[in-house]
């Protein structure tokens, strides 16, 4: 098998900020003592005068970003998802969301694939928190190509955006000439007729593996990559489930409030259908190597395959 190229989406984030920084003087990057980990260090090196280290004070950082945006800058605020979305939730809601500030939140180290740091740093709640904020766009890219496109699209959009990135290097899956990124538009990766697998982030690649395993069992799975959880591509979800009759959602996030909930909200309202939610089952994570954790919590190809197979055959 050829070697698959793997890149962590946090690297895509930092690299794209450097490109955008060259194109736009009004782009500034904020960190809370994690520039080395959020990968904005490359931006800091290139544009030291436009990189603002706020120290370990995420709540204040969100307010600083709001003030910068109110005076014409486009701030990208960087921290771990736990601190950006969870610790500073109310600041994001009241200082950025409510006044519709043009602030982009680059949240790295989302989900259990943080690995060894354990549950205190594994944020499985950020999508749920961010999608409740009116006017907030929530994007969870699946690979390097999608993450780069998402950062550019977030810059182009006038309004608050939450970008979710991972620590773990993940395979590049979108390197095909037809790939196009558009906020709010899902990507149909594989057509099928028995079940729709709707996945986000690093679970997209695992879901493609699961679809191959299902095919061997004679189950035809359609696979949709939902990079934008809010606004959700309802049209794509509804059209697919209309055809397959049932959906499985897959995310490295709590089954409460994330992609699975967003899909259920959509189906409940427009076209009730059975849904099986694969994710973190209302538990905290734990320490361990990222890939082993993903296996333990059933978010690898085999885990998704088994759960989907049982759901389809039920």
């Amino acid at each position: 098998m050829p070697e698959v190229k793997k890149i962590a989406t946090r690297d895509s984030y930092g690299n794209t900020l450097v490109e955008l920084g060259k194109e736009h003087d009004n782009l500034v990057v904020l960190d809370a003592d994690l520039a080395a980990a959020t990968k904005t260090g490359v931006f800091q090196k290139e544009f030291p005068e436009r990189h603002i280290n706020c120290g370990i004070a995420e709540c204040n950082m969100m307010g600083i970003a709001a003030g910068l945006a109110a005076t014409g800058k486009v701030p990208f605020v960087s921290s771990f998802a736990m601190f950006a979305a969870a610790r500073a939730f109310e600041q994001v809601r009241n200082s950025i969301g409510y006044p519709k500030m043009n602030v982009k939140i680059g949240a790295t180290h989302a989900g259990i694939s943080v690995g060894e740091d354990g549950a205190s740093h594994q944020c499985n709640e950020d999508i749920a928190l961010m999608r409740t904020i009116p006017g907030m766009t929530v994007i969870n890219p699946s690979d390097d190509i999608e993450a780069k496109a998402a950062v550019r699209a977030a810059f182009a959009l006038d309004g608050p955006v939450y970008l979710r990135f991972g620590r773990l290097a993940v395979p590049v899956i979108n390197d095909n000439p037809d790939y196009k990124f558009e906020i709010g538009k899902g990507v149909l990766l594989k057509e099928g007729s028995d079940v729709t697998i709707i996945a986000t982030g690093l679970c997209v690649e695992a879901s493609l593996q699961a679809a191959d395993l299902l095919a061997a069992d004679g189950i035809s799975a359609e696979v949709i990559n939902i990079h934008t959880i809010k606004p959700l591509d309802k049209e794509m979800v509804l059209n697919s489930v209309k055809k397959t009759g049932k959906a499985v959602t897959v995310e490295e996030h709590s089954i409460i409030g994330g992609l699975g909930s967003a899909v259920c909200d959509c189906l409940c309202e427009h076209m009730p259908a059975p849904v099986y939610k694969i994710g973190i089952n209302d538990v905290y994570g734990e320490s361990g190597p990222a890939l082993e954790l993903l296996k333990k919590y059933g978010l690898h190809g085999q885990g998704i395959y088994e759960k989907t197979r049982d759901f389809v055959r039920k």
């Binding site: 500034v28 005068e49 436009r50 603002i52 706020c54 120290g55 004070a57 709540c59 204040n60 969100m62 307010g63 600083i64 970003a65 709001a66 003030g67 910068l68 945006a69 109110a70 005076t71 014409g72 800058k73 109310e90 600041q91 009241n94 200082s95 409510y98 006044p99 519709k100």
Partner: protein, 279 residues
């Protein structure tokens, strides 16, 4: 502008506070009245603003970090000509552009939405940093309550402002000594306030009477001359200032006067206004 003129305007601002809070049957008169003079000084004397062009890019910015005293800010903005004084009576009503706490999308002259304590000061610091980054000359003012500084975020913001030497920033603390549950030093004392800001590398100006325009003028002039560090103006004020039965009473933090109380308050302010006109 002469102090006497400012006093007359501040008295009108106070009438606007009482009128709007009475009409809304809700709101925060106590801290609006204690800050009525500093609102007046900022909008009629200190700040570079234009009511005809509220979004002009080189304007000085003001962030009301103690956002619950919006009635005071709204009244000052209305009297300065940002919107009709008559509209103050729509405060807190459904569909009004005068929300219970400031919202920058709705109200001309509001530079930042605020109300959740401790957050406005961070946005003000961000604005001051922004001016430094692009070599703009505007100044940024923010008003905090003395109870508000119990919020940890205030000190995150202060640490940042001091470290970045934001001398275009003036943090004002309305030290009226009272918060919802009582005296600030009975609830959870923030004293000494001046030493705290000094420790965070601020130039600190103590104002013995923040309801006195001579003292306010001296403080803001000194703040302009201060270079290389942000300024904190800690001003002693009287909560409920100008309405006898509200003065020094914590119970008037967030309560509207009834019809009878409204009449008494307006009569007192009318008399105060007449006395100023005879000076």
């Amino acid at each position: 502008m002469e102090n006497l003129e400012l006093q007359k305007i501040a008295n009108e601002v106070r009438k606007g506070i009482i009128t709007s809070v009475h009409a809304a049957k809700a709101g925060h008169p106590g801290g609006s009245l204690s800050a009525a003079d500093v609102f007046t000084y900022l909008y009629f004397e200190e700040m570079n603003i234009d009511p005809q062009e509220p979004k002009k890019s080189d304007r000085d910015r003001f962030v009301l970090s103690k956002g619950h005293t919006a009635p005071g800010l709204y009244s000052a903005l209305a009297h300065r000509g940002f919107f009709p004084v008559e509209d103050l009576k729509t405060l807190r009503k459904i569909g009004s552009y005068l929300q219970g706490h400031p919202c920058l999308q709705y109200t001309p002259g509001i530079d930042m939405s605020s109300g959740s304590l401790g957050q406005g000061v961070s946005a003000a610091v961000g604005m001051a940093l922004s001016a430094k980054l692009s070599n703009d000359n505007y100044r940024v003012y923010t008003l905090l309550g003395d109870g508000e500084i119990q919020e940890g975020q205030v000190w995150e913001a202060a640490m940042f402002a001091g470290y970045h030497k934001l001398d275009n920033l003036v943090v004002i603390v309305d030290n009226n000594g009272l918060q919802i549950d009582g005296k600030i030093d009975d609830v959870c004392s923030p004293y000494p306030i001046d030493d705290k800001f000094k420790a965070f590398n601020f130039h600190v100006i103590n104002v013995a009477d923040g309801n006195d325009f001579d003292q306010l003028r001296a403080a803001f002039q000194q703040a302009r001359e201060n270079k290389g560090m942000p300024t904190a103006i800690i001003m002693k004020t009287v909560k409920g200032k100008g309405v006898s039965y509200m003065e020094h009473v914590a119970g008037w933090h967030g309560k509207a006067p009834n019809d009878e109380e409204y009449e008494v308050a307006m009569e007192e302010l009318e008399k105060a206004g007449e006395a100023l006109c005879q000076k």
